[in-house]
Protein backbone atom coordinates (compact mmCIF):
# COMPACT_ATOMS: atom_id res chain seq x y z
CA UNK A 1 0.00 0.00 0.00
CA UNK A 2 1.01 3.60 -0.48
CA UNK A 3 1.70 5.46 2.72
CA UNK A 4 1.53 9.19 2.74
CA UNK A 5 2.03 11.61 5.62
CA UNK A 6 0.30 14.98 5.38
CA UNK A 7 0.83 18.01 7.58
CA UNK A 8 1.85 15.99 10.56
CA UNK A 9 2.73 17.88 13.72
CA UNK A 10 3.35 16.51 17.19
CA UNK A 11 4.21 18.51 20.29
CA UNK A 12 5.22 17.36 23.75
CA UNK A 13 5.34 19.92 26.57
CA UNK A 14 5.33 22.82 24.10
CA UNK A 15 8.26 21.35 22.23
CA UNK A 16 7.64 20.38 18.63
CA UNK A 17 9.09 16.91 18.26
CA UNK A 18 7.83 16.23 14.78
CA UNK A 19 6.86 18.37 11.84
CA UNK A 20 6.35 16.88 8.41
CA UNK A 21 4.50 18.61 5.59
CA UNK A 22 4.49 15.76 3.15
CA UNK A 23 6.20 12.40 3.08
CA UNK A 24 5.68 9.36 0.94
CA UNK A 25 6.95 5.91 1.83
CA UNK A 26 7.87 3.91 -1.26
CA UNK A 27 5.70 0.88 -1.68
CA UNK A 28 7.41 -2.51 -1.75
CA UNK A 29 10.81 -1.09 -0.90
CA UNK A 30 13.02 -1.21 2.16
CA UNK A 31 13.33 2.31 3.54
CA UNK A 32 15.66 3.33 6.34
CA UNK A 33 15.06 6.17 8.76
CA UNK A 34 18.29 7.61 10.00
CA UNK A 35 19.16 10.39 12.37
CA UNK A 36 20.43 11.26 15.81
CA UNK A 37 18.52 10.68 19.04
CA UNK A 38 15.56 12.94 19.47
CA UNK A 39 15.15 13.60 15.79
CA UNK A 40 11.63 12.26 15.83
CA UNK A 41 12.22 8.91 14.14
CA UNK A 42 10.36 6.78 16.66
CA UNK A 43 7.56 9.30 17.00
CA UNK A 44 7.01 9.27 13.28
CA UNK A 45 7.05 5.48 13.16
CA UNK A 46 4.51 5.27 15.94
CA UNK A 47 2.28 7.72 14.19
CA UNK A 48 2.42 5.65 11.03
CA UNK A 49 1.62 2.59 13.14
CA UNK A 50 -1.26 4.48 14.75
CA UNK A 51 0.15 4.01 18.23
CA UNK A 52 0.36 7.75 18.70
CA UNK A 53 -2.05 10.30 17.29
CA UNK A 54 -0.56 13.45 15.74
CA UNK A 55 -1.77 16.83 16.96
CA UNK A 56 -2.60 17.83 13.42
CA UNK A 57 -2.44 16.15 10.06
CA UNK A 58 -3.07 12.58 9.02
CA UNK A 59 -1.55 9.51 7.49
CA UNK A 60 -3.13 8.02 4.39
CA UNK A 61 -2.94 4.36 3.53
CA UNK A 62 -3.85 4.01 -0.14
CA UNK A 63 -5.69 7.26 0.38
CA UNK A 64 -7.75 5.86 3.24
CA UNK A 65 -7.60 5.92 7.03
CA UNK A 66 -5.81 3.50 9.33
CA UNK A 67 -8.78 1.17 9.90
CA UNK A 68 -8.58 0.02 6.30
CA UNK A 69 -4.96 -0.94 6.75
CA UNK A 70 -4.86 -2.06 10.36
CA UNK A 71 -4.61 -5.79 9.74
CA UNK A 72 -2.07 -5.49 6.94
CA UNK A 73 0.43 -3.39 8.81
CA UNK A 74 2.55 -4.14 11.83
CA UNK A 75 4.99 -2.39 14.14
CA UNK A 76 7.88 -3.99 16.00
CA UNK A 77 9.84 -2.02 18.56
CA UNK A 78 13.19 -3.02 20.00
CA UNK A 79 11.56 -4.38 23.15
CA UNK A 80 8.17 -5.59 22.06
CA UNK A 81 5.81 -7.03 24.64
CA UNK A 82 5.77 -10.80 24.42
CA UNK A 83 2.83 -12.81 25.65
CA UNK A 84 3.14 -15.03 28.70
CA UNK A 85 3.09 -18.06 26.45
CA UNK A 86 5.43 -20.36 24.60
CA UNK A 87 7.43 -19.15 21.63
CA UNK A 88 5.13 -21.14 19.42
CA UNK A 89 2.10 -19.55 21.06
CA UNK A 90 3.47 -16.06 20.58
CA UNK A 91 4.23 -16.49 16.92
CA UNK A 92 0.87 -18.16 16.33
CA UNK A 93 -1.09 -15.39 18.06
CA UNK A 94 -1.69 -13.08 15.09
CA UNK A 95 -2.85 -16.05 13.05
CA UNK A 96 -5.27 -17.04 15.76
CA UNK A 97 -6.56 -13.47 15.78
CA UNK A 98 -7.37 -14.02 12.12
CA UNK A 99 -9.13 -17.34 12.79
CA UNK A 100 -6.80 -19.25 10.53
CA UNK A 101 -6.99 -23.02 10.29
CA UNK A 102 -4.98 -25.02 12.77
CA UNK A 103 -3.01 -26.88 10.12
CA UNK A 104 -2.06 -23.67 8.39
CA UNK A 105 -0.97 -22.07 11.65
CA UNK A 106 1.26 -25.01 12.49
CA UNK A 107 2.86 -25.00 9.10
CA UNK A 108 3.44 -21.28 9.04
CA UNK A 109 4.85 -21.07 12.57
CA UNK A 110 7.22 -23.99 11.92
CA UNK A 111 8.39 -22.17 8.83
CA UNK A 112 9.21 -19.05 10.77
CA UNK A 113 10.86 -20.96 13.57
CA UNK A 114 13.19 -22.50 11.03
CA UNK A 115 13.84 -19.20 9.28
CA UNK A 116 14.86 -17.56 12.50
CA UNK A 117 16.66 -20.64 13.78
CA UNK A 118 14.87 -20.80 17.11
CA UNK A 119 13.72 -24.41 16.91
CA UNK A 120 15.30 -25.21 20.27
CA UNK A 121 13.09 -22.58 21.89
CA UNK A 122 9.77 -23.71 20.47
CA UNK A 123 8.18 -24.70 23.77
CA UNK A 124 9.98 -22.28 26.05
CA UNK A 125 8.06 -19.49 27.76
CA UNK A 126 8.86 -16.37 25.78
CA UNK A 127 9.43 -14.30 28.91
CA UNK A 128 12.40 -16.39 29.94
CA UNK A 129 14.40 -15.76 26.79
CA UNK A 130 17.45 -13.57 26.36
CA UNK A 131 17.13 -10.14 24.77
CA UNK A 132 18.23 -11.30 21.36
CA UNK A 133 16.01 -14.37 21.40
CA UNK A 134 13.05 -12.23 22.39
CA UNK A 135 13.67 -9.91 19.50
CA UNK A 136 13.69 -12.79 17.07
CA UNK A 137 10.41 -14.07 18.45
CA UNK A 138 8.86 -10.61 18.25
CA UNK A 139 9.91 -10.29 14.65
CA UNK A 140 8.74 -13.77 13.72
CA UNK A 141 5.41 -13.01 15.38
CA UNK A 142 5.00 -9.79 13.45
CA UNK A 143 5.75 -11.54 10.18
CA UNK A 144 3.56 -14.55 10.72
CA UNK A 145 0.56 -13.09 8.97
CA UNK A 146 2.62 -11.78 6.05
CA UNK A 147 1.90 -8.08 6.53
CA UNK A 148 2.10 -5.72 3.61
CA UNK A 149 3.93 -3.16 5.69
CA UNK A 150 6.50 -3.83 8.38
CA UNK A 151 7.63 -0.98 10.60
CA UNK A 152 10.66 -1.87 12.69
CA UNK A 153 12.39 0.21 15.30
CA UNK A 154 15.97 -0.96 15.85
CA UNK A 155 15.59 -4.54 14.61
CA UNK A 156 18.98 -5.81 15.58
CA UNK A 157 20.05 -3.69 18.53
CA UNK A 158 20.05 -6.66 20.95
CA UNK A 159 21.13 -9.34 18.64
CA UNK A 160 24.32 -11.35 18.48
CA UNK A 161 26.49 -10.23 15.59
CA UNK A 162 26.25 -13.79 14.27
CA UNK A 163 22.54 -13.45 13.91
CA UNK A 164 22.38 -9.95 12.54
CA UNK A 165 23.06 -11.39 9.14
CA UNK A 166 20.29 -13.89 9.67
CA UNK A 167 17.77 -11.20 10.43
CA UNK A 168 18.91 -9.00 7.61
CA UNK A 169 18.65 -11.77 5.06
CA UNK A 170 15.24 -12.73 6.43
CA UNK A 171 14.10 -9.13 5.89
CA UNK A 172 15.60 -9.04 2.43
CA UNK A 173 13.90 -12.26 1.54
CA UNK A 174 10.42 -11.27 2.56
CA UNK A 175 10.81 -7.98 0.75
CA UNK A 176 11.90 -9.88 -2.29
CA UNK A 177 9.36 -12.70 -2.20
CA UNK A 178 6.34 -10.94 -0.79
CA UNK A 179 7.07 -7.36 -1.85
CA UNK A 180 6.63 -6.30 1.77
CA UNK A 181 7.18 -2.61 2.40
CA UNK A 182 9.73 -2.35 5.18
CA UNK A 183 10.55 0.76 7.13
CA UNK A 184 13.52 0.47 9.48
CA UNK A 185 14.64 2.90 12.10
CA UNK A 186 18.24 2.24 12.86
CA UNK A 187 21.31 3.82 14.35
CA UNK A 188 23.50 1.54 12.38
CA UNK A 189 24.39 3.41 9.22
CA UNK A 190 26.22 0.43 7.77
CA UNK A 191 23.12 -1.70 8.23
CA UNK A 192 20.96 0.84 6.50
CA UNK A 193 23.39 1.02 3.64
CA UNK A 194 23.29 -2.77 3.36
CA UNK A 195 19.56 -3.18 3.54
CA UNK A 196 17.81 -0.08 2.38
CA UNK A 197 17.03 1.24 -1.04
CA UNK A 198 16.02 4.62 0.25
CA UNK A 199 17.02 6.65 3.26
CA UNK A 200 14.98 9.25 5.07
CA UNK A 201 17.24 11.41 7.16
CA UNK A 202 15.77 13.27 10.10
CA UNK A 203 16.95 16.01 12.40
CA UNK A 204 15.08 17.91 15.10
CA UNK A 205 11.73 16.60 14.03
CA UNK A 206 12.10 17.36 10.36
CA UNK A 207 12.98 15.33 7.33
CA UNK A 208 16.05 16.97 5.92
CA UNK A 209 16.69 14.52 3.15
CA UNK A 210 14.91 11.68 1.44
CA UNK A 211 16.89 10.00 -1.26
CA UNK A 212 18.20 6.79 -2.66
CA UNK A 213 20.75 5.15 -0.45
CA UNK A 214 23.57 5.45 -2.86
CA UNK A 215 23.06 9.18 -2.91
CA UNK A 216 23.09 9.71 0.81
CA UNK A 217 26.77 8.98 1.08
CA UNK A 218 27.46 11.74 -1.35
CA UNK A 219 25.27 14.19 0.44
CA UNK A 220 26.35 17.80 0.58
CA UNK A 221 24.79 18.40 3.95
CA UNK A 222 27.49 18.82 6.59
CA UNK A 223 25.39 17.38 9.33
CA UNK A 224 24.58 14.26 7.37
CA UNK A 225 28.15 13.78 6.28
CA UNK A 226 29.35 13.96 9.86
CA UNK A 227 26.65 11.64 11.11
CA UNK A 228 27.50 9.00 8.54
CA UNK A 229 31.15 9.17 9.35
CA UNK A 230 30.59 8.71 13.04
CA UNK A 231 28.20 5.82 12.61
Amino acid sequence: MDIRLRNIKKTYNSKTVLQIDSLKIKKGKITGILGPNGSGKTTMMKIIGDLIKPDTGRVEYDGKGFESASDRLTYVSHNSYLFNDSVFGNIAAPLKFRDMKKEYIEKRVEELIDNFQIRYLKYENALTLSGGEKQKVALARALSFKPEVLLIDEPTSNIDPNFIKLIESALKRINNDLKTTIVIVTHNTAQSLRLCEEIIFMRDGNVIQQTLTKNIVNSNDEFIKEFIELN
Binding site: S70, V76, S80, Y81, P94, K96, F97, R141, A142
Partner: protein, 238 residues
Protein backbone atom coordinates in the same frame (compact mmCIF):
# COMPACT_ATOMS: atom_id res chain seq x y z
CA UNK B 1 5.74 -19.97 79.94
CA UNK B 2 3.90 -23.12 80.97
CA UNK B 3 0.57 -21.86 79.91
CA UNK B 4 1.90 -21.23 76.42
CA UNK B 5 3.09 -24.81 76.09
CA UNK B 6 -0.10 -26.10 77.62
CA UNK B 7 -2.00 -23.86 75.27
CA UNK B 8 -0.23 -25.20 72.20
CA UNK B 9 -0.71 -28.81 73.34
CA UNK B 10 -4.37 -28.21 73.99
CA UNK B 11 -4.63 -26.51 70.65
CA UNK B 12 -3.43 -29.50 68.70
CA UNK B 13 -5.73 -31.77 70.61
CA UNK B 14 -8.61 -29.51 69.76
CA UNK B 15 -7.72 -29.31 66.08
CA UNK B 16 -7.36 -33.06 65.75
CA UNK B 17 -10.55 -33.76 67.63
CA UNK B 18 -12.50 -32.15 64.77
CA UNK B 19 -14.53 -30.23 67.28
CA UNK B 20 -17.79 -29.24 65.61
CA UNK B 21 -17.92 -25.73 67.03
CA UNK B 22 -14.41 -24.89 65.94
CA UNK B 23 -14.89 -26.15 62.44
CA UNK B 24 -18.22 -24.50 61.89
CA UNK B 25 -16.53 -21.24 62.86
CA UNK B 26 -13.75 -21.92 60.35
CA UNK B 27 -16.23 -22.72 57.61
CA UNK B 28 -18.18 -19.55 58.27
CA UNK B 29 -15.00 -17.47 58.09
CA UNK B 30 -14.07 -18.99 54.76
CA UNK B 31 -17.58 -18.56 53.43
CA UNK B 32 -17.82 -14.89 54.43
CA UNK B 33 -14.36 -13.93 53.21
CA UNK B 34 -14.60 -15.97 50.03
CA UNK B 35 -17.96 -14.48 49.13
CA UNK B 36 -16.77 -10.95 49.78
CA UNK B 37 -13.62 -11.57 47.75
CA UNK B 38 -15.71 -12.78 44.83
CA UNK B 39 -17.95 -9.72 44.99
CA UNK B 40 -14.98 -7.41 45.36
CA UNK B 41 -13.26 -9.02 42.37
CA UNK B 42 -16.30 -8.71 40.17
CA UNK B 43 -16.32 -4.99 40.90
CA UNK B 44 -12.65 -4.28 41.40
CA UNK B 45 -11.05 -6.11 38.50
CA UNK B 46 -13.00 -4.44 35.69
CA UNK B 47 -12.93 -1.11 37.50
CA UNK B 48 -9.19 -1.29 38.06
CA UNK B 49 -8.56 -2.34 34.48
CA UNK B 50 -10.71 0.29 32.85
CA UNK B 51 -9.47 3.16 35.00
CA UNK B 52 -5.92 1.85 34.78
CA UNK B 53 -5.69 1.62 31.05
CA UNK B 54 -7.72 4.59 29.91
CA UNK B 55 -6.25 8.06 29.92
CA UNK B 56 -8.47 10.75 31.38
CA UNK B 57 -8.38 13.93 33.38
CA UNK B 58 -8.28 13.42 37.09
CA UNK B 59 -6.56 10.05 36.76
CA UNK B 60 -3.95 11.04 39.29
CA UNK B 61 -6.63 12.20 41.69
CA UNK B 62 -8.34 8.83 41.27
CA UNK B 63 -5.06 7.12 42.00
CA UNK B 64 -4.81 8.99 45.30
CA UNK B 65 -8.39 8.10 46.13
CA UNK B 66 -7.68 4.42 45.53
CA UNK B 67 -4.62 4.54 47.75
CA UNK B 68 -6.61 6.17 50.52
CA UNK B 69 -9.39 3.64 50.40
CA UNK B 70 -6.93 0.78 50.26
CA UNK B 71 -5.85 1.76 53.74
CA UNK B 72 -9.33 1.97 55.25
CA UNK B 73 -9.30 0.64 58.79
CA UNK B 74 -11.64 -2.35 59.06
CA UNK B 75 -13.28 -0.98 62.21
CA UNK B 76 -14.23 2.17 60.37
CA UNK B 77 -15.77 0.15 57.57
CA UNK B 78 -17.65 -1.87 60.17
CA UNK B 79 -18.85 1.27 61.86
CA UNK B 80 -20.11 2.83 58.64
CA UNK B 81 -21.85 -0.39 57.68
CA UNK B 82 -23.52 -0.72 61.06
CA UNK B 83 -24.79 2.84 60.95
CA UNK B 84 -26.52 1.99 57.71
CA UNK B 85 -27.93 -1.42 58.50
CA UNK B 86 -28.84 -1.09 62.17
CA UNK B 87 -32.54 -0.93 62.86
CA UNK B 88 -32.53 2.81 63.20
CA UNK B 89 -30.44 3.20 60.07
CA UNK B 90 -31.63 3.84 56.52
CA UNK B 91 -31.54 0.15 55.64
CA UNK B 92 -32.77 -1.05 59.00
CA UNK B 93 -35.91 -2.66 57.68
CA UNK B 94 -33.89 -5.20 55.71
CA UNK B 95 -32.86 -6.79 58.99
CA UNK B 96 -29.21 -7.28 58.12
CA UNK B 97 -27.55 -6.57 61.42
CA UNK B 98 -25.89 -9.54 63.09
CA UNK B 99 -26.03 -11.66 59.95
CA UNK B 100 -23.31 -13.21 57.80
CA UNK B 101 -24.72 -11.21 54.90
CA UNK B 102 -23.90 -8.00 56.72
CA UNK B 103 -20.40 -9.31 57.31
CA UNK B 104 -20.02 -10.06 53.63
CA UNK B 105 -21.17 -6.55 52.77
CA UNK B 106 -18.74 -4.97 55.20
CA UNK B 107 -15.82 -7.06 53.99
CA UNK B 108 -16.69 -6.35 50.37
CA UNK B 109 -16.52 -2.63 51.15
CA UNK B 110 -13.15 -3.23 52.71
CA UNK B 111 -11.65 -5.43 50.01
CA UNK B 112 -12.95 -3.85 46.80
CA UNK B 113 -10.61 -0.84 47.02
CA UNK B 114 -7.68 -3.16 47.65
CA UNK B 115 -8.32 -5.24 44.58
CA UNK B 116 -9.12 -2.18 42.49
CA UNK B 117 -5.98 -0.43 43.64
CA UNK B 118 -3.63 -3.32 42.91
CA UNK B 119 -5.13 -3.90 39.48
CA UNK B 120 -5.10 -0.18 38.70
CA UNK B 121 -1.48 0.38 39.69
CA UNK B 122 -0.17 -2.55 37.72
CA UNK B 123 -2.33 -2.37 34.65
CA UNK B 124 -1.46 1.22 33.90
CA UNK B 125 1.68 0.36 31.98
CA UNK B 126 1.23 -3.29 31.17
CA UNK B 127 -2.38 -2.93 30.09
CA UNK B 128 -1.54 -0.28 27.57
CA UNK B 129 1.36 -2.29 26.20
CA UNK B 130 -0.86 -5.30 25.71
CA UNK B 131 -3.49 -3.28 23.93
CA UNK B 132 -0.91 -1.70 21.64
CA UNK B 133 0.72 -4.97 20.77
CA UNK B 134 -2.62 -6.55 20.01
CA UNK B 135 -3.35 -3.62 17.76
CA UNK B 136 -0.15 -4.04 15.79
CA UNK B 137 -0.87 -7.74 15.41
CA UNK B 138 -4.35 -7.15 14.02
CA UNK B 139 -6.48 -8.26 16.95
CA UNK B 140 -10.08 -7.05 17.16
CA UNK B 141 -11.71 -5.82 20.36
CA UNK B 142 -12.81 -9.27 21.43
CA UNK B 143 -9.39 -10.82 20.95
CA UNK B 144 -7.70 -7.91 22.67
CA UNK B 145 -10.01 -8.20 25.66
CA UNK B 146 -9.34 -11.91 26.12
CA UNK B 147 -5.63 -11.45 25.65
CA UNK B 148 -5.70 -8.69 28.25
CA UNK B 149 -7.38 -10.92 30.78
CA UNK B 150 -5.08 -13.83 30.01
CA UNK B 151 -1.92 -11.76 30.25
CA UNK B 152 -3.06 -10.08 33.41
CA UNK B 153 -4.17 -13.30 35.06
CA UNK B 154 -1.19 -13.38 37.44
CA UNK B 155 -2.00 -9.83 38.42
CA UNK B 156 -5.66 -10.64 38.96
CA UNK B 157 -4.65 -13.62 41.04
CA UNK B 158 -2.36 -11.55 43.22
CA UNK B 159 -5.06 -8.95 43.73
CA UNK B 160 -7.76 -11.43 44.67
CA UNK B 161 -5.64 -13.54 46.98
CA UNK B 162 -4.37 -10.41 48.67
CA UNK B 163 -7.96 -9.30 49.09
CA UNK B 164 -8.96 -12.66 50.54
CA UNK B 165 -6.06 -12.55 52.96
CA UNK B 166 -7.16 -9.16 54.20
CA UNK B 167 -10.74 -10.29 54.58
CA UNK B 168 -10.12 -13.47 56.47
CA UNK B 169 -7.71 -11.87 58.91
CA UNK B 170 -9.63 -8.76 59.82
CA UNK B 171 -11.63 -8.59 63.03
CA UNK B 172 -12.91 -5.01 63.33
CA UNK B 173 -15.57 -5.04 60.66
CA UNK B 174 -16.99 -8.49 61.32
CA UNK B 175 -17.07 -7.89 65.04
CA UNK B 176 -19.09 -4.73 64.74
CA UNK B 177 -21.61 -5.82 62.11
CA UNK B 178 -21.76 -9.46 63.13
CA UNK B 179 -21.60 -9.25 66.89
CA UNK B 180 -19.65 -12.51 67.29
CA UNK B 181 -22.89 -14.33 67.97
CA UNK B 182 -22.43 -17.98 68.78
CA UNK B 183 -23.76 -20.20 66.04
CA UNK B 184 -24.58 -17.28 63.77
CA UNK B 185 -21.81 -14.79 63.17
CA UNK B 186 -18.82 -16.09 65.04
CA UNK B 187 -15.74 -16.26 62.85
CA UNK B 188 -12.13 -17.18 63.51
CA UNK B 189 -10.92 -13.70 64.28
CA UNK B 190 -13.75 -12.68 66.59
CA UNK B 191 -13.50 -16.04 68.29
CA UNK B 192 -9.80 -15.57 68.93
CA UNK B 193 -10.36 -12.10 70.35
CA UNK B 194 -13.10 -13.36 72.63
CA UNK B 195 -11.27 -16.51 73.72
CA UNK B 196 -8.25 -14.47 74.56
CA UNK B 197 -10.16 -12.01 76.68
CA UNK B 198 -11.62 -14.95 78.56
CA UNK B 199 -8.21 -16.38 79.17
CA UNK B 200 -8.87 -19.50 77.10
CA UNK B 201 -5.45 -19.81 75.59
CA UNK B 202 -5.79 -23.28 74.13
CA UNK B 203 -8.83 -22.45 72.05
CA UNK B 204 -7.42 -19.14 70.87
CA UNK B 205 -4.13 -20.75 69.92
CA UNK B 206 -5.96 -23.57 68.15
CA UNK B 207 -7.95 -21.15 66.10
CA UNK B 208 -4.90 -19.02 65.50
CA UNK B 209 -3.03 -21.99 64.10
CA UNK B 210 -5.90 -22.82 61.77
CA UNK B 211 -6.06 -19.21 60.61
CA UNK B 212 -2.34 -19.22 59.91
CA UNK B 213 -2.62 -22.45 57.95
CA UNK B 214 -5.34 -21.00 55.78
CA UNK B 215 -3.44 -17.78 55.23
CA UNK B 216 -0.28 -19.66 54.41
CA UNK B 217 -2.04 -21.99 51.99
CA UNK B 218 -3.63 -19.13 50.14
CA UNK B 219 -0.32 -17.37 49.73
CA UNK B 220 1.51 -20.56 48.75
CA UNK B 221 -1.07 -21.20 46.11
CA UNK B 222 -0.54 -17.69 44.85
CA UNK B 223 3.21 -18.02 44.83
CA UNK B 224 3.14 -21.26 42.88
CA UNK B 225 0.75 -19.94 40.31
CA UNK B 226 2.50 -16.67 39.61
CA UNK B 227 6.16 -17.34 40.29
CA UNK B 228 6.30 -21.03 39.56
CA UNK B 229 5.68 -20.51 35.89
CA UNK B 230 9.00 -18.78 35.47
CA UNK B 231 7.16 -15.57 34.98
CA UNK B 232 9.42 -13.19 36.78
CA UNK B 233 6.42 -10.95 37.28
CA UNK B 234 7.04 -8.03 39.56
CA UNK B 235 3.77 -6.83 40.90
CA UNK B 236 3.45 -3.74 43.03
CA UNK B 237 0.98 -3.99 45.85
CA UNK B 238 1.01 -0.37 46.88
Amino acid sequence: MDYIIEGVKGAFKLILSLDKEIYSIVLLSIYVSFASTVISSLIGVPLGLVTGIKEFRGKRLLSKIYYTFMGLPPVVVGLVTVLIISRSGPLGTVGLIYTPTAMIIAQSLLVTPIITGIIFTNSKDTGLEIINICKTLGANKKHTFFKLIKELKPLILVATVTGFGRAISEVGAVMIVGGNIKGHTRVMTTFIAMSNSMGNYDTSIAMGIILLIISFSANSFLYNRTMGDSNGYKIKKY
